[in-house]
Symmetry: C3
Subunit: 276 residues, 3 copies
């Protein structure tokens, strides 16, 4: 699956919102049968899925197109999967994923993105990712559900989820998966979103789940190298190459000692930017 910096959700029962997906620069979009769709509308929304998927394909949607089913513990799960697997989508998002066994229902090659957002899911994340690495394209961390499950409270700084958020990245990366950061619910506060996204990127997340089009723009920015980063990476590599010709393996660059790991990061930034 292509790299996802932004993954935008919209409720499966809000046709007028889903039809706008092609307007947004989201790397991926998801038709949400789970929390976004109220219980009483879930069955009807599921029935209309093939139609809205067909519509979005006709519009030549550029984003990766995904469906979020209800969780494996939900009575809707089986019916959701059946519809989702028949739809012409690029992958399926399974929320509240806790064990490898819960993905057994998925035959075939449809890529799956699992959201780890319960105590059990976090406790199993390494094993789950390892056993399902062929089926999984990515993992995501769901802070709101996790903290609800564990009985805590969310703060803007997020220290209360730092352990789980760090562990999900590690579990995903160990199995070579993409990994998407938590939703940020304060939808009117760009600065706070940026801080949250920055922490996500620092931790190793490659993108972020979004709940408004504005968040998509901010996430794309946060998970792309800035012009300044690209520039710095270029200069660093040049300086390093020059000094390597002199037999030096370590150089000082703008106040920091630089060797292999920092060079790798600079190369990764340029690669991401399409320069290398």
């Amino acid at each position: 699956m292509r790299l996802i910096r932004s993954l935008l959700f919209a409720p499966a029962n809000r046709r007028e919102m889903l039809e706008k997906f092609p307007r947004y620069p989201a790397d991926a979009v998801a038709i949400d049968l789970e929390d976004g769709t109220p219980e009483s509308e879930k069955a009807a929304a599921r029935d209309q899925l093939p139609d809205i998927v067909a519509y979005l394909r006709e519009q030549q949607l550029k984003s990766i197109l995904l469906i979020r089913t209800n969780g494996p513990g939900s009575p809707h799960f089986k019916a959701d999967i059946t519809v989702a697997l028949r739809a012409s989508v690029d992958g399926i998002i399974v929320p509240k994923l806790e064990t490898a066994a819960e993905l057994a229902a998925f035959e075939g090659a449809t890529p799956i993105i699992g959201i780890i957002e319960t105590a059990r899911g976090v406790a199993n994340v390494e094993v789950l990712a390892d056993q399902q690495r062929d089926r999984l394209a990515a993992l995501a961390f769901g802070a709101e559900d996790f903290i609800t499950d564990i009985g805590g409270r969310r703060t803007v700084d997020g220290l209360e989820v730092l352990y789980a958020r760090s562990r999900v990245v590690l579990g995903a990366r160990l199995s070579g998966l993409q990994v998407l950061d938590q939703v940020f619910t304060m939808i009117r506060d760009d600065a706070a979103f940026r801080r949250d996204a920055d922490i996500g990127r620092q931790l190793g997340y490659g993108g972020k789940m979004c709940i408004t089009p504005r968040q998509v723009e901010l996430a794309n920015e946060a998970f792309s190298p800035s012009a300044e980063e690209v520039d710095r990476s270029r200069r660093l590599l040049q300086a390093y190459e020059a000094s390597q010709a002199d037999g030096l393996g370590v150089i000082e660059f703008e106040g920091s000692m630089v060797d292999e790991p920092l060079l790798k990061r600079a190369r990764a930034i340029l690669r991401l930017f399409g320069v290398l």
Copy 2:
């Protein structure tokens, strides 16, 4: 076992302190044979246990009544258990708990609260909680002993124990146990206690170990929903119900996007407050 927001310790050799237990609004109180009682007094304190327990029962103590034994590695452990199991208490606190095997000595149905406060205990917490979920009523995290065991230093902010403190909550919650937060040693600083307790609650702790009656009051406050929280939760649920009638699964409420996990938290707050 009833929910514990505050658990107050007093040394088993300080009769005058133990007799005051009925005055305090602690959800639980513990007669401490371990660190609170000096080595030279432990045997005598143990002998006097039945007497002080009888006294507290006569006084119709409302708090859950507990005994803290010495740790499984201590020469006092066996004798402590024998006395504790015969006493008419509501449960036994085992400090420095590290393995499931250490609880094998406890036959019968007395509920146990295990304190996880060593490197080994933290490393085993998930397995320990899982294997002993029937015997255990709760786990607690002991930051002072943990950081001593691991060779670190305590700070007020507590970043040095964030990993262990987060992991103990997860281990306890996975097995459906109550979980009690670390002691805060700076007994004259209410504001710092409140900050520490708030972090505990954010992480998912349901209550806190206390070493002064003042801390009991503060812990009861910190681990109960505030009037403002209750009010906000009520309004949020009302707003959500109204919009669900309109077929919406997600609403904006005071600047935040709200769906299932936030609703669950609001309901949990009202339930804790006895409103739902």
Copy 3:
């Protein structure tokens, strides 16, 4: 192995730097065949190892003398080990250590310091330390390589590595190993180095990897008890002994409630300082 507060690296191909090792108060020094030595110079640097080791021994170097080989995944690893095992050094540093099996190549009694600095290494750290506790003298945590491996970004505060950095201490301490904190790359900023070292010590690290002689001085300071700490520890123990004579197991000392864990820490500080 003696306690290491500071471990200074210098590139194996920079003879003029290696010859200065005896001038510095580093508890340990390492001749670096890995990242400090560019690819094109590694073979030559390896050939010159016996000679520089002999020189340093003649100079009666007081520091523990170590060689850092290339990592187990490198084509240089075998040749590096062969040379390192024959050299008269006090131990070998293996970077990018990930599994116990990777140390199978080391027969004999040469102590090994393993650097945990990949996602895989962090995920295996407890098992690795446990299985290789006889071969290992210490573990170290490499933040720069770890964050590169996991795809994140480094910050001065280091929240992005708090999980891994905390877990490596725990893994090492469980097996009774020394544990050395991450390199700090901003070599001109003493205050930032001190903050980073302080966090390391709070977490339980006993020393720090250094890349300049200046950092060695700062690390020695940060990982030794300060005069004020020693003084406070002395007074605390005196106050405690006095009150124990009065049958008290817990005392208030300068605003904090003090019992066993805090006493143990005070004793450890005095022992480290050579007073107890």
